[in-house]
Subunit: 289 residues, 2 copies
Amino acid sequence: MLAAIEAGGTKFVCAVGDETGKIIDKVTIPTTVPSETMKEVIAFFKQYQITAMGVGSFGPIDIDQDSPSYGSITSTPKTAWKDYPIVQELKKEFPIPIGFNTDVNAAALGEATFGAAKGLDSCLYITVGTGVGAGAVMQGHLLQGLSHPEMGHILIRKHPEDSFEGVCPYHKDCLEGLAAGPAIEKRWGQKGSELTHKEEVWELEGYYLAQAMMQYLLILSPKKIILGGGVSHQEAVFKAIRKHLPEINGGYIALPDLENYIVSPGLGDQAGITGALMLAYKALNEQIA
Amino acid sequence: MLAAIEAGGTKFVCAVGDETGKIIDKVTIPTTVPSETMKEVIAFFKQYQITAMGVGSFGPIDIDQDSPSYGSITSTPKTAWKDYPIVQELKKEFPIPIGFNTDVNAAALGEATFGAAKGLDSCLYITVGTGVGAGAVMQGHLLQGLSHPEMGHILIRKHPEDSFEGVCPYHKDCLEGLAAGPAIEKRWGQKGSELTHKEEVWELEGYYLAQAMMQYLLILSPKKIILGGGVSHQEAVFKAIRKHLPEINGGYIALPDLENYIVSPGLGDQAGITGALMLAYKALNEQIA
Ligand SMILES: Nc1ncnc2c1ncn2[C@@H]1O[C@H](COP(=O)(O)OP(=O)(O)O)[C@@H](O)[C@H]1O
Ligand SMILES: Nc1ncnc2c1ncn2[C@@H]1O[C@H](COP(=O)(O)OP(=O)(O)O)[C@@H](O)[C@H]1O
Ligand SMILES: [Zn+2]
Ligand SMILES: [Zn+2]
Protein backbone atom coordinates (compact mmCIF):
# COMPACT_ATOMS: atom_id res chain seq x y z
CA MET A 1 0.00 0.00 0.00
CA LEU A 2 1.19 3.55 -0.77
CA ALA A 3 1.00 6.43 1.68
CA ALA A 4 0.33 10.05 0.71
CA ILE A 5 0.46 13.31 2.63
CA GLU A 6 -0.78 16.65 1.38
CA ALA A 7 0.83 18.90 3.95
CA GLY A 8 -0.92 22.27 3.93
CA GLY A 9 -0.72 25.36 6.09
CA THR A 10 -4.13 24.73 7.63
CA LYS A 11 -4.52 20.96 7.35
CA PHE A 12 -2.67 17.76 6.58
CA VAL A 13 -4.55 15.32 4.37
CA CYS A 14 -3.23 11.78 4.80
CA ALA A 15 -4.27 8.89 2.61
CA VAL A 16 -3.38 5.34 1.70
CA GLY A 17 -4.03 4.01 -1.74
CA ASP A 18 -2.49 2.42 -4.78
CA GLU A 19 -0.64 3.33 -7.96
CA THR A 20 -3.87 3.60 -9.96
CA GLY A 21 -4.70 6.66 -7.86
CA LYS A 22 -7.33 4.78 -5.86
CA ILE A 23 -7.62 6.10 -2.30
CA ILE A 24 -8.51 3.44 0.27
CA ASP A 25 -8.57 5.49 3.46
CA LYS A 26 -8.14 9.18 4.17
CA VAL A 27 -7.99 11.46 7.16
CA THR A 28 -7.67 15.22 7.69
CA ILE A 29 -5.55 16.54 10.55
CA PRO A 30 -5.29 20.22 11.53
CA THR A 31 -1.88 21.86 11.09
CA THR A 32 -0.92 23.02 14.57
CA VAL A 33 2.63 22.34 15.75
CA PRO A 34 4.79 19.49 14.46
CA SER A 35 4.71 17.49 17.72
CA GLU A 36 0.90 17.37 17.68
CA THR A 37 0.17 17.15 13.97
CA MET A 38 2.86 14.61 13.19
CA LYS A 39 1.78 12.36 16.05
CA GLU A 40 -1.61 11.99 14.44
CA VAL A 41 -0.12 11.58 10.97
CA ILE A 42 2.10 8.77 12.18
CA ALA A 43 -0.73 7.07 14.07
CA PHE A 44 -2.85 7.05 10.92
CA PHE A 45 -0.22 5.39 8.78
CA LYS A 46 0.77 2.89 11.50
CA GLN A 47 -2.58 1.16 10.87
CA TYR A 48 -1.39 0.07 7.43
CA GLN A 49 1.41 -1.88 5.81
CA ILE A 50 2.90 0.83 3.67
CA THR A 51 5.75 0.36 1.20
CA ALA A 52 6.46 3.94 0.15
CA MET A 53 5.33 7.44 0.98
CA GLY A 54 4.81 10.65 -0.97
CA VAL A 55 4.68 14.09 0.60
CA GLY A 56 3.41 17.20 -1.19
CA SER A 57 4.17 20.04 1.18
CA PHE A 58 3.58 23.75 1.64
CA GLY A 59 6.85 25.56 1.26
CA PRO A 60 9.36 26.71 0.57
CA ILE A 61 10.98 23.33 1.05
CA ASP A 62 14.40 21.87 0.35
CA ILE A 63 14.15 19.28 -2.44
CA ASP A 64 17.84 19.21 -3.34
CA GLN A 65 18.91 15.67 -2.53
CA ASP A 66 22.53 16.78 -2.14
CA SER A 67 21.70 19.39 0.47
CA PRO A 68 22.13 18.74 4.22
CA SER A 69 18.63 20.12 4.83
CA TYR A 70 17.01 17.97 2.12
CA GLY A 71 13.49 17.05 3.18
CA SER A 72 12.84 20.12 5.33
CA ILE A 73 10.31 22.87 5.23
CA THR A 74 12.61 25.89 5.16
CA SER A 75 11.71 29.57 5.57
CA THR A 76 7.95 29.38 6.16
CA PRO A 77 6.26 32.15 8.13
CA LYS A 78 4.60 29.37 10.20
CA THR A 79 7.36 29.50 12.80
CA ALA A 80 6.66 26.12 14.42
CA TRP A 81 7.39 24.47 11.08
CA LYS A 82 10.40 26.54 10.09
CA ASP A 83 13.35 24.24 9.31
CA TYR A 84 11.28 21.22 10.27
CA PRO A 85 12.88 18.09 8.74
CA ILE A 86 9.62 16.40 7.82
CA VAL A 87 11.11 13.66 5.64
CA GLN A 88 13.73 12.71 8.22
CA GLU A 89 11.08 12.58 10.96
CA LEU A 90 8.86 10.34 8.84
CA LYS A 91 11.81 8.12 7.95
CA LYS A 92 12.37 7.40 11.65
CA GLU A 93 8.93 5.83 11.86
CA PHE A 94 8.71 4.53 8.31
CA PRO A 95 12.09 3.49 6.90
CA ILE A 96 10.71 3.27 3.37
CA PRO A 97 11.25 5.28 0.19
CA ILE A 98 9.76 8.77 0.60
CA GLY A 99 9.09 11.12 -2.29
CA PHE A 100 9.07 14.79 -1.39
CA ASN A 101 7.96 17.81 -3.36
CA THR A 102 5.82 20.92 -3.14
CA ASP A 103 2.03 20.69 -2.80
CA VAL A 104 1.56 22.34 -6.18
CA ASN A 105 4.08 20.08 -7.87
CA ALA A 106 2.22 17.09 -6.40
CA ALA A 107 -1.04 18.47 -7.78
CA ALA A 108 0.57 18.95 -11.20
CA LEU A 109 1.75 15.35 -11.11
CA GLY A 110 -1.69 14.11 -10.08
CA GLU A 111 -3.34 16.02 -12.91
CA ALA A 112 -0.74 14.85 -15.43
CA THR A 113 -1.23 11.23 -14.40
CA PHE A 114 -4.97 10.91 -13.86
CA GLY A 115 -6.56 14.33 -14.30
CA ALA A 116 -7.06 17.03 -16.91
CA ALA A 117 -3.61 16.48 -18.44
CA LYS A 118 -3.76 12.70 -18.52
CA GLY A 119 -1.84 11.37 -21.50
CA LEU A 120 0.15 14.59 -21.92
CA ASP A 121 3.81 14.83 -21.01
CA SER A 122 3.47 18.37 -19.69
CA CYS A 123 1.10 20.58 -17.76
CA LEU A 124 1.11 23.52 -15.43
CA TYR A 125 -1.04 23.50 -12.31
CA ILE A 126 -1.77 26.87 -10.73
CA THR A 127 -3.72 27.34 -7.55
CA VAL A 128 -5.17 30.68 -6.54
CA GLY A 129 -6.35 30.59 -2.95
CA THR A 130 -4.76 31.99 0.18
CA GLY A 131 -1.65 32.32 -1.94
CA VAL A 132 -0.76 31.70 -5.55
CA GLY A 133 1.39 28.69 -6.32
CA ALA A 134 2.18 26.74 -9.43
CA GLY A 135 3.97 23.56 -10.34
CA ALA A 136 4.77 21.98 -13.66
CA VAL A 137 5.40 18.64 -15.22
CA MET A 138 7.60 19.08 -18.29
CA GLN A 139 8.62 16.22 -20.57
CA GLY A 140 7.25 13.82 -17.98
CA HIS A 141 9.22 15.20 -15.04
CA LEU A 142 8.35 17.56 -12.23
CA LEU A 143 10.19 20.72 -13.14
CA GLN A 144 13.09 21.37 -10.83
CA GLY A 145 16.40 23.21 -11.04
CA LEU A 146 18.30 25.05 -8.36
CA SER A 147 15.12 24.55 -6.35
CA HIS A 148 11.41 24.13 -7.01
CA PRO A 149 9.81 26.97 -8.95
CA GLU A 150 8.13 29.79 -7.04
CA MET A 151 5.84 30.91 -9.80
CA GLY A 152 3.26 32.62 -7.62
CA HIS A 153 5.39 35.71 -7.12
CA ILE A 154 6.12 36.70 -10.69
CA LEU A 155 5.82 40.34 -11.63
CA ILE A 156 2.77 41.40 -13.54
CA ARG A 157 1.66 44.82 -14.71
CA LYS A 158 -0.87 46.61 -12.61
CA HIS A 159 -4.07 47.60 -14.34
CA PRO A 160 -4.01 51.39 -14.81
CA GLU A 161 -7.31 51.71 -12.94
CA ASP A 162 -6.34 49.44 -10.05
CA SER A 163 -5.13 51.59 -7.18
CA PHE A 164 -4.77 48.68 -4.75
CA GLU A 165 -1.16 48.49 -3.62
CA GLY A 166 -1.00 44.73 -3.11
CA VAL A 167 -0.45 42.53 -0.07
CA CYS A 168 2.70 40.50 -0.73
CA PRO A 169 5.08 41.03 2.20
CA TYR A 170 8.05 40.75 -0.17
CA HIS A 171 6.89 42.52 -3.32
CA LYS A 172 3.53 44.13 -2.54
CA ASP A 173 2.18 43.98 -6.09
CA CYS A 174 3.44 40.68 -7.50
CA LEU A 175 0.91 38.14 -8.82
CA GLU A 176 0.12 36.76 -5.37
CA GLY A 177 0.02 40.24 -3.90
CA LEU A 178 -2.56 41.41 -6.43
CA ALA A 179 -4.57 38.30 -7.24
CA ALA A 180 -4.71 35.79 -4.37
CA GLY A 181 -7.83 35.48 -2.17
CA PRO A 182 -6.60 37.89 0.53
CA ALA A 183 -5.82 40.54 -2.10
CA ILE A 184 -9.34 40.23 -3.50
CA GLU A 185 -10.82 40.53 -0.03
CA LYS A 186 -8.74 43.57 0.86
CA ARG A 187 -9.27 45.36 -2.45
CA TRP A 188 -13.05 44.91 -2.56
CA GLY A 189 -13.79 44.75 1.16
CA GLN A 190 -15.53 41.39 0.97
CA LYS A 191 -14.49 37.76 0.65
CA GLY A 192 -14.23 36.43 -2.90
CA SER A 193 -17.00 33.94 -2.30
CA GLU A 194 -19.38 36.84 -1.60
CA LEU A 195 -18.41 38.76 -4.73
CA THR A 196 -19.72 36.27 -7.28
CA HIS A 197 -22.07 38.76 -8.95
CA LYS A 198 -19.61 41.62 -9.06
CA GLU A 199 -18.37 41.36 -12.64
CA GLU A 200 -15.46 43.80 -12.36
CA VAL A 201 -13.84 41.67 -9.66
CA TRP A 202 -13.42 38.67 -11.95
CA GLU A 203 -12.64 40.78 -14.94
CA LEU A 204 -9.62 42.27 -13.13
CA GLU A 205 -8.70 38.88 -11.66
CA GLY A 206 -8.71 37.39 -15.17
CA TYR A 207 -6.60 40.27 -16.42
CA TYR A 208 -3.90 39.44 -13.86
CA LEU A 209 -4.08 35.68 -14.24
CA ALA A 210 -3.95 35.97 -18.04
CA GLN A 211 -0.72 37.96 -17.71
CA ALA A 212 0.73 35.24 -15.51
CA MET A 213 -0.37 32.49 -17.87
CA MET A 214 1.16 34.36 -20.81
CA GLN A 215 4.51 34.31 -19.01
CA TYR A 216 4.16 30.60 -18.21
CA LEU A 217 3.28 29.93 -21.84
CA LEU A 218 6.22 31.89 -23.21
CA ILE A 219 8.73 30.43 -20.77
CA LEU A 220 7.49 26.84 -20.41
CA SER A 221 4.93 26.16 -23.13
CA PRO A 222 3.02 23.52 -21.09
CA LYS A 223 0.49 21.40 -22.99
CA LYS A 224 -2.30 22.23 -20.55
CA ILE A 225 -2.88 24.87 -17.86
CA ILE A 226 -4.99 23.75 -14.92
CA LEU A 227 -6.41 26.39 -12.61
CA GLY A 228 -7.43 25.30 -9.11
CA GLY A 229 -7.83 26.78 -5.63
CA GLY A 230 -10.70 28.69 -4.02
CA VAL A 231 -10.71 31.56 -6.51
CA SER A 232 -11.05 29.15 -9.45
CA HIS A 233 -14.57 28.33 -8.27
CA GLN A 234 -15.62 31.54 -9.96
CA GLU A 235 -16.48 30.52 -13.52
CA ALA A 236 -16.20 34.17 -14.58
CA VAL A 237 -12.44 34.05 -13.95
CA PHE A 238 -11.95 31.49 -16.70
CA LYS A 239 -13.98 33.59 -19.11
CA ALA A 240 -11.95 36.69 -18.30
CA ILE A 241 -8.63 34.85 -18.70
CA ARG A 242 -9.68 33.48 -22.06
CA LYS A 243 -10.63 37.00 -23.15
CA HIS A 244 -7.45 38.74 -21.98
CA LEU A 245 -4.86 36.17 -23.01
CA PRO A 246 -5.18 36.72 -26.78
CA GLU A 247 -5.05 40.49 -26.22
CA ILE A 248 -1.82 40.18 -24.25
CA ASN A 249 -0.37 37.77 -26.81
CA GLY A 250 -0.95 40.31 -29.58
CA GLY A 251 -0.90 37.61 -32.26
CA TYR A 252 2.64 36.61 -31.35
CA ILE A 253 2.50 32.88 -30.61
CA ALA A 254 -0.08 30.49 -32.02
CA LEU A 255 -2.40 30.02 -29.06
CA PRO A 256 -4.13 26.68 -28.55
CA ASP A 257 -7.93 26.54 -28.22
CA LEU A 258 -8.29 28.18 -24.81
CA GLU A 259 -11.54 26.38 -23.85
CA ASN A 260 -9.61 23.13 -23.76
CA TYR A 261 -6.29 24.61 -22.76
CA ILE A 262 -7.10 26.46 -19.54
CA VAL A 263 -9.26 24.14 -17.50
CA SER A 264 -10.37 23.14 -14.01
CA PRO A 265 -8.62 20.27 -12.24
CA GLY A 266 -9.87 16.94 -13.55
CA LEU A 267 -9.42 15.52 -10.05
CA GLY A 268 -11.16 18.40 -8.25
CA ASP A 269 -9.67 18.81 -4.75
CA GLN A 270 -8.05 15.39 -5.02
CA ALA A 271 -5.25 16.56 -7.33
CA GLY A 272 -2.78 17.15 -4.49
CA ILE A 273 -3.35 13.95 -2.55
CA THR A 274 -3.46 11.86 -5.73
CA GLY A 275 -0.20 13.44 -6.82
CA ALA A 276 1.34 12.67 -3.43
CA LEU A 277 0.37 9.04 -4.02
CA MET A 278 2.23 9.23 -7.34
CA LEU A 279 5.25 10.72 -5.53
CA ALA A 280 5.18 7.59 -3.36
CA TYR A 281 4.97 5.36 -6.40
CA LYS A 282 7.87 7.16 -8.07
CA ALA A 283 9.98 6.91 -4.92
CA LEU A 284 9.29 3.18 -4.76
CA ASN A 285 10.36 2.63 -8.36
CA GLU A 286 13.46 4.77 -8.09
CA GLN A 287 14.50 2.81 -5.01
CA ILE A 288 14.14 -0.50 -6.80
CA ALA A 289 15.80 0.68 -10.00
CA MET B 1 31.76 12.79 -38.44
CA LEU B 2 28.93 14.97 -37.11
CA ALA B 3 27.47 17.92 -39.00
CA ALA B 4 26.19 21.11 -37.40
CA ILE B 5 24.28 24.10 -38.72
CA GLU B 6 23.63 27.30 -36.84
CA ALA B 7 20.96 28.80 -39.04
CA GLY B 8 20.67 32.51 -38.35
CA GLY B 9 18.78 35.35 -39.93
CA THR B 10 21.93 36.90 -41.38
CA LYS B 11 24.27 33.91 -41.74
CA PHE B 12 24.41 30.14 -41.66
CA VAL B 13 27.39 28.71 -39.82
CA CYS B 14 28.11 25.12 -40.91
CA ALA B 15 30.62 22.88 -39.22
CA VAL B 16 31.79 19.31 -39.00
CA GLY B 17 33.18 17.93 -35.78
CA ASP B 18 32.85 15.26 -33.17
CA GLU B 19 30.95 14.49 -29.98
CA THR B 20 33.65 16.04 -27.81
CA GLY B 21 32.65 19.41 -29.28
CA LYS B 22 35.76 19.57 -31.45
CA ILE B 23 35.17 21.45 -34.69
CA ILE B 24 37.18 20.15 -37.64
CA ASP B 25 36.02 22.46 -40.41
CA LYS B 26 33.69 25.43 -40.50
CA VAL B 27 32.23 27.79 -43.04
CA THR B 28 29.95 30.85 -42.92
CA ILE B 29 27.31 31.35 -45.61
CA PRO B 30 25.12 34.44 -45.96
CA THR B 31 21.38 33.95 -45.41
CA THR B 32 19.81 35.03 -48.68
CA VAL B 33 17.07 32.81 -50.16
CA PRO B 34 16.81 29.07 -49.51
CA SER B 35 17.76 28.01 -53.05
CA GLU B 36 21.06 29.91 -52.84
CA THR B 37 21.96 29.45 -49.19
CA MET B 38 21.05 25.79 -49.00
CA LYS B 39 23.03 24.99 -52.17
CA GLU B 40 26.19 26.18 -50.45
CA VAL B 41 25.28 24.45 -47.20
CA ILE B 42 24.83 21.14 -49.00
CA ALA B 43 28.03 21.54 -51.00
CA PHE B 44 29.99 22.09 -47.79
CA PHE B 45 28.72 18.93 -46.11
CA LYS B 46 29.06 16.80 -49.28
CA GLN B 47 32.85 17.02 -48.78
CA TYR B 48 32.56 14.87 -45.66
CA GLN B 49 31.30 11.49 -44.53
CA ILE B 50 28.69 12.61 -42.05
CA THR B 51 26.63 10.27 -39.86
CA ALA B 52 24.20 12.71 -38.23
CA MET B 53 23.30 16.36 -38.38
CA GLY B 54 22.13 18.97 -35.87
CA VAL B 55 20.37 22.18 -36.81
CA GLY B 56 19.90 25.11 -34.45
CA SER B 57 17.67 27.50 -36.31
CA PHE B 58 16.18 30.97 -36.08
CA GLY B 59 12.49 30.72 -35.58
CA PRO B 60 9.77 30.22 -34.81
CA ILE B 61 10.14 26.65 -35.97
CA ASP B 62 8.03 23.52 -35.71
CA ILE B 63 9.73 21.00 -33.41
CA ASP B 64 6.66 18.86 -32.73
CA GLN B 65 7.58 15.50 -34.21
CA ASP B 66 3.90 14.58 -34.58
CA SER B 67 3.13 17.67 -36.66
CA PRO B 68 2.94 17.55 -40.49
CA SER B 69 5.14 20.64 -40.65
CA TYR B 70 7.80 19.23 -38.29
CA GLY B 71 11.21 20.48 -39.29
CA SER B 72 10.05 23.75 -40.84
CA ILE B 73 10.75 27.37 -40.13
CA THR B 74 7.21 28.66 -39.66
CA SER B 75 6.03 32.28 -39.37
CA THR B 76 9.29 34.18 -39.78
CA PRO B 77 9.20 37.74 -41.14
CA LYS B 78 11.99 36.64 -43.56
CA THR B 79 9.44 35.77 -46.26
CA ALA B 80 11.72 33.61 -48.42
CA TRP B 81 12.12 31.26 -45.44
CA LYS B 82 8.52 31.22 -44.26
CA ASP B 83 7.26 27.63 -44.05
CA TYR B 84 10.56 26.37 -45.42
CA PRO B 85 10.93 22.65 -44.55
CA ILE B 86 14.63 22.79 -43.78
CA VAL B 87 14.90 19.35 -42.19
CA GLN B 88 13.05 17.64 -45.04
CA GLU B 89 15.23 19.40 -47.59
CA LEU B 90 18.38 18.34 -45.80
CA LYS B 91 17.10 14.76 -45.46
CA LYS B 92 16.82 14.54 -49.26
CA GLU B 93 20.56 15.06 -49.56
CA PHE B 94 21.59 13.47 -46.27
CA PRO B 95 19.33 10.58 -45.27
CA ILE B 96 20.79 10.49 -41.76
CA PRO B 97 19.42 11.34 -38.28
CA ILE B 98 18.85 15.08 -38.02
CA GLY B 99 18.30 16.87 -34.73
CA PHE B 100 16.37 20.12 -34.96
CA ASN B 101 15.82 22.86 -32.44
CA THR B 102 16.00 26.62 -31.99
CA ASP B 103 19.32 28.46 -32.19
CA VAL B 104 19.03 29.49 -28.54
CA ASN B 105 18.16 26.00 -27.40
CA ALA B 106 21.22 24.74 -29.28
CA ALA B 107 23.33 27.35 -27.51
CA ALA B 108 21.89 26.32 -24.14
CA LEU B 109 22.76 22.70 -24.91
CA GLY B 110 26.28 23.66 -25.98
CA GLU B 111 26.83 25.63 -22.77
CA ALA B 112 25.36 22.84 -20.63
CA THR B 113 27.62 20.26 -22.25
CA PHE B 114 30.95 22.05 -22.65
CA GLY B 115 30.51 25.65 -21.52
CA ALA B 116 29.66 27.71 -18.48
CA ALA B 117 27.09 25.18 -17.24
CA LYS B 118 29.21 22.09 -17.82
CA GLY B 119 28.41 19.46 -15.21
CA LEU B 120 25.06 21.03 -14.34
CA ASP B 121 21.78 19.45 -15.39
CA SER B 122 20.14 22.82 -16.04
CA CYS B 123 20.91 26.24 -17.43
CA LEU B 124 19.25 29.09 -19.21
CA TYR B 125 20.92 30.75 -22.18
CA ILE B 126 19.69 34.20 -23.11
CA THR B 127 20.94 36.18 -26.05
CA VAL B 128 20.37 39.90 -26.37
CA GLY B 129 21.22 41.07 -29.86
CA THR B 130 18.99 41.95 -32.79
CA GLY B 131 16.28 40.22 -30.80
CA VAL B 132 16.03 38.60 -27.39
CA GLY B 133 15.83 34.84 -27.29
CA ALA B 134 16.33 32.25 -24.61
CA GLY B 135 16.52 28.51 -24.37
CA ALA B 136 16.86 26.19 -21.42
CA VAL B 137 18.16 22.79 -20.50
CA MET B 138 16.20 21.48 -17.51
CA GLN B 139 16.94 18.16 -15.82
CA GLY B 140 19.25 17.33 -18.71
CA HIS B 141 16.70 17.95 -21.47
CA LEU B 142 16.06 20.87 -23.77
CA LEU B 143 12.88 22.38 -22.42
CA GLN B 144 9.95 21.80 -24.74
CA GLY B 145 6.18 21.56 -24.37
CA LEU B 146 3.48 22.57 -26.78
CA SER B 147 6.35 24.17 -28.68
CA HIS B 148 9.75 25.65 -27.92
CA PRO B 149 9.72 28.52 -25.42
CA GLU B 150 9.55 32.08 -26.73
CA MET B 151 11.04 33.73 -23.69
CA GLY B 152 12.22 36.88 -25.42
CA HIS B 153 8.77 38.44 -25.48
CA ILE B 154 7.80 38.26 -21.84
CA LEU B 155 6.19 41.27 -20.24
CA ILE B 156 8.32 43.43 -18.02
CA ARG B 157 7.53 46.64 -16.23
CA LYS B 158 8.62 49.84 -17.85
CA HIS B 159 10.90 52.03 -15.82
CA PRO B 160 8.87 55.07 -14.70
CA GLU B 161 11.42 57.39 -16.31
CA ASP B 162 11.65 55.50 -19.60
CA SER B 163 9.35 57.17 -22.10
CA PHE B 164 10.47 54.98 -25.01
CA GLU B 165 7.44 53.12 -26.33
CA GLY B 166 9.24 49.99 -27.52
CA VAL B 167 9.79 48.42 -30.92
CA CYS B 168 8.22 44.96 -30.78
CA PRO B 169 5.78 44.65 -33.70
CA TYR B 170 3.53 42.46 -31.54
CA HIS B 171 3.73 44.00 -28.09
CA LYS B 172 5.68 47.22 -28.42
CA ASP B 173 7.09 47.19 -24.87
CA CYS B 174 7.83 43.52 -24.13
CA LEU B 175 11.39 42.52 -23.16
CA GLU B 176 12.61 42.39 -26.75
CA GLY B 177 10.77 45.59 -27.56
CA LEU B 178 12.50 47.47 -24.75
CA ALA B 179 15.87 45.81 -24.39
CA ALA B 180 17.17 44.30 -27.66
CA GLY B 181 19.86 46.05 -29.71
CA PRO B 182 17.44 47.89 -32.01
CA ALA B 183 15.51 49.24 -28.99
CA ILE B 184 18.72 50.57 -27.49
CA GLU B 185 19.65 52.21 -30.78
CA LYS B 186 16.25 53.81 -31.24
CA ARG B 187 15.92 54.99 -27.63
CA TRP B 188 19.36 56.58 -27.41
CA GLY B 189 19.88 57.49 -31.06
CA GLN B 190 23.14 55.57 -31.37
CA LYS B 191 24.20 51.96 -31.75
CA GLY B 192 24.85 50.09 -28.51
CA SER B 193 28.50 49.58 -29.39
CA GLU B 194 28.93 53.37 -29.46
CA LEU B 195 27.27 53.91 -26.09
CA THR B 196 29.82 52.08 -23.96
CA HIS B 197 30.57 55.10 -21.77
CA LYS B 198 26.98 56.18 -21.27
CA GLU B 199 26.23 54.67 -17.86
CA GLU B 200 22.46 55.20 -17.85
CA VAL B 201 22.10 53.06 -20.97
CA TRP B 202 23.42 49.94 -19.27
CA GLU B 203 21.80 50.77 -15.97
CA LEU B 204 18.37 50.74 -17.66
CA GLU B 205 19.30 47.68 -19.73
CA GLY B 206 20.26 45.85 -16.56
CA TYR B 207 17.00 46.90 -14.92
CA TYR B 208 15.03 45.25 -17.73
CA LEU B 209 17.18 42.14 -18.00
CA ALA B 210 17.10 41.65 -14.21
CA GLN B 211 13.30 41.65 -14.35
CA ALA B 212 13.39 39.02 -17.07
CA MET B 213 15.89 36.91 -15.17
CA MET B 214 13.77 37.13 -12.04
CA GLN B 215 10.84 35.65 -13.98
CA TYR B 216 13.05 32.89 -15.40
CA LEU B 217 14.34 32.16 -11.90
CA LEU B 218 10.88 32.00 -10.37
CA ILE B 219 9.41 29.89 -13.15
CA LEU B 220 12.34 27.63 -14.07
CA SER B 221 14.99 27.93 -11.39
CA PRO B 222 17.90 27.09 -13.74
CA LYS B 223 21.25 26.32 -12.11
CA LYS B 224 23.06 28.91 -14.23
CA ILE B 225 22.04 31.87 -16.38
CA ILE B 226 24.27 32.57 -19.36
CA LEU B 227 23.98 35.91 -21.11
CA GLY B 228 25.22 36.15 -24.68
CA GLY B 229 24.62 38.23 -27.82
CA GLY B 230 25.97 41.60 -28.93
CA VAL B 231 24.62 43.57 -25.97
CA SER B 232 26.31 41.22 -23.49
CA HIS B 233 29.67 42.59 -24.62
CA GLN B 234 28.95 45.53 -22.34
CA GLU B 235 30.40 44.49 -18.97
CA ALA B 236 28.28 47.20 -17.30
CA VAL B 237 25.13 45.23 -18.14
CA PHE B 238 26.21 42.36 -15.90
CA LYS B 239 26.93 44.76 -13.07
CA ALA B 240 23.53 46.41 -13.42
CA ILE B 241 21.70 43.07 -13.53
CA ARG B 242 23.48 41.88 -10.40
CA LYS B 243 22.49 45.12 -8.67
CA HIS B 244 18.83 45.11 -9.67
CA LEU B 245 18.03 41.42 -9.25
CA PRO B 246 18.20 41.39 -5.42
CA GLU B 247 16.07 44.55 -5.33
CA ILE B 248 13.40 42.94 -7.48
CA ASN B 249 13.56 39.73 -5.46
CA GLY B 250 12.87 41.67 -2.26
CA GLY B 251 14.36 38.93 -0.09
CA TYR B 252 11.84 36.40 -1.36
CA ILE B 253 13.89 33.50 -2.71
CA ALA B 254 17.40 32.62 -1.63
CA LEU B 255 19.49 33.96 -4.49
CA PRO B 256 22.68 32.18 -5.50
CA ASP B 257 25.97 34.09 -5.66
CA LEU B 258 25.25 36.26 -8.69
CA GLU B 259 28.90 36.64 -9.78
CA ASN B 260 28.96 32.94 -10.55
CA TYR B 261 25.32 32.60 -11.44
CA ILE B 262 24.86 35.12 -14.25
CA VAL B 263 27.83 34.68 -16.53
CA SER B 264 29.12 35.03 -20.08
CA PRO B 265 29.05 32.06 -22.42
CA GLY B 266 31.92 29.68 -21.67
CA LEU B 267 32.11 28.89 -25.37
CA GLY B 268 31.99 32.52 -26.54
CA ASP B 269 30.33 32.68 -29.98
CA GLN B 270 30.79 28.94 -30.39
CA ALA B 271 27.90 28.05 -28.08
CA GLY B 272 25.36 27.74 -30.88
CA ILE B 273 27.44 25.72 -33.31
CA THR B 274 28.77 23.47 -30.55
CA GLY B 275 25.21 22.90 -29.38
CA ALA B 276 24.15 22.03 -32.93
CA LEU B 277 26.91 19.42 -32.93
CA MET B 278 25.38 18.02 -29.72
CA LEU B 279 21.96 17.99 -31.39
CA ALA B 280 23.54 15.81 -34.08
CA TYR B 281 25.03 13.51 -31.46
CA LYS B 282 21.69 13.20 -29.66
CA ALA B 283 19.90 12.45 -32.93
CA LEU B 284 22.42 9.73 -33.68
CA ASN B 285 21.97 8.09 -30.29
CA GLU B 286 18.20 8.30 -30.36
CA GLN B 287 18.19 6.68 -33.80
CA ILE B 288 20.36 3.80 -32.61
CA ALA B 289 18.47 3.34 -29.32
N1 LIG C 1 -15.87 30.44 -4.17
C1 LIG C 1 -14.88 31.29 -3.99
N2 LIG C 1 -14.78 32.40 -4.75
C2 LIG C 1 -13.79 33.27 -4.58
N3 LIG C 1 -12.82 33.14 -3.68
C3 LIG C 1 -12.85 32.07 -2.89
C4 LIG C 1 -13.87 31.08 -2.99
N4 LIG C 1 -13.61 30.12 -2.10
C5 LIG C 1 -12.50 30.48 -1.45
N5 LIG C 1 -12.04 31.66 -1.90
C6 LIG C 1 -10.85 32.39 -1.44
O1 LIG C 1 -9.69 31.56 -1.59
C7 LIG C 1 -8.90 31.61 -0.42
C8 LIG C 1 -8.79 30.19 0.16
O2 LIG C 1 -8.22 29.38 -0.80
P1 LIG C 1 -8.33 27.80 -0.84
O3 LIG C 1 -7.80 27.35 -2.13
O4 LIG C 1 -9.76 27.43 -0.55
O5 LIG C 1 -7.46 27.31 0.36
P2 LIG C 1 -5.87 27.37 0.61
O6 LIG C 1 -5.24 28.22 -0.45
O7 LIG C 1 -5.73 27.97 1.97
O8 LIG C 1 -5.45 25.95 0.52
C9 LIG C 1 -9.52 32.60 0.52
O9 LIG C 1 -8.88 33.86 0.37
C10 LIG C 1 -10.97 32.69 0.03
O10 LIG C 1 -11.52 33.97 0.25
N1 LIG D 1 29.48 45.74 -28.19
C1 LIG D 1 28.16 45.96 -28.28
N2 LIG D 1 27.53 46.70 -27.35
C2 LIG D 1 26.22 46.92 -27.40
N3 LIG D 1 25.43 46.47 -28.37
C3 LIG D 1 25.98 45.73 -29.33
C4 LIG D 1 27.36 45.44 -29.34
N4 LIG D 1 27.62 44.65 -30.41
C5 LIG D 1 26.44 44.49 -31.06
N5 LIG D 1 25.45 45.14 -30.40
C6 LIG D 1 24.04 45.21 -30.81
O1 LIG D 1 23.51 43.89 -30.86
C7 LIG D 1 22.74 43.70 -32.05
C8 LIG D 1 23.36 42.56 -32.86
O2 LIG D 1 23.35 41.43 -32.08
P1 LIG D 1 24.29 40.18 -32.33
O3 LIG D 1 24.12 39.28 -31.16
O4 LIG D 1 25.66 40.65 -32.61
O5 LIG D 1 23.71 39.51 -33.64
P2 LIG D 1 22.33 38.77 -33.94
O6 LIG D 1 21.41 38.95 -32.79
O7 LIG D 1 21.82 39.42 -35.17
O8 LIG D 1 22.74 37.36 -34.15
C9 LIG D 1 22.72 45.03 -32.75
O9 LIG D 1 21.51 45.69 -32.44
C10 LIG D 1 23.93 45.76 -32.21
O10 LIG D 1 23.73 47.17 -32.18
ZN1 LIG E 1 5.38 38.38 -3.94
ZN1 LIG F 1 7.22 41.21 -28.13
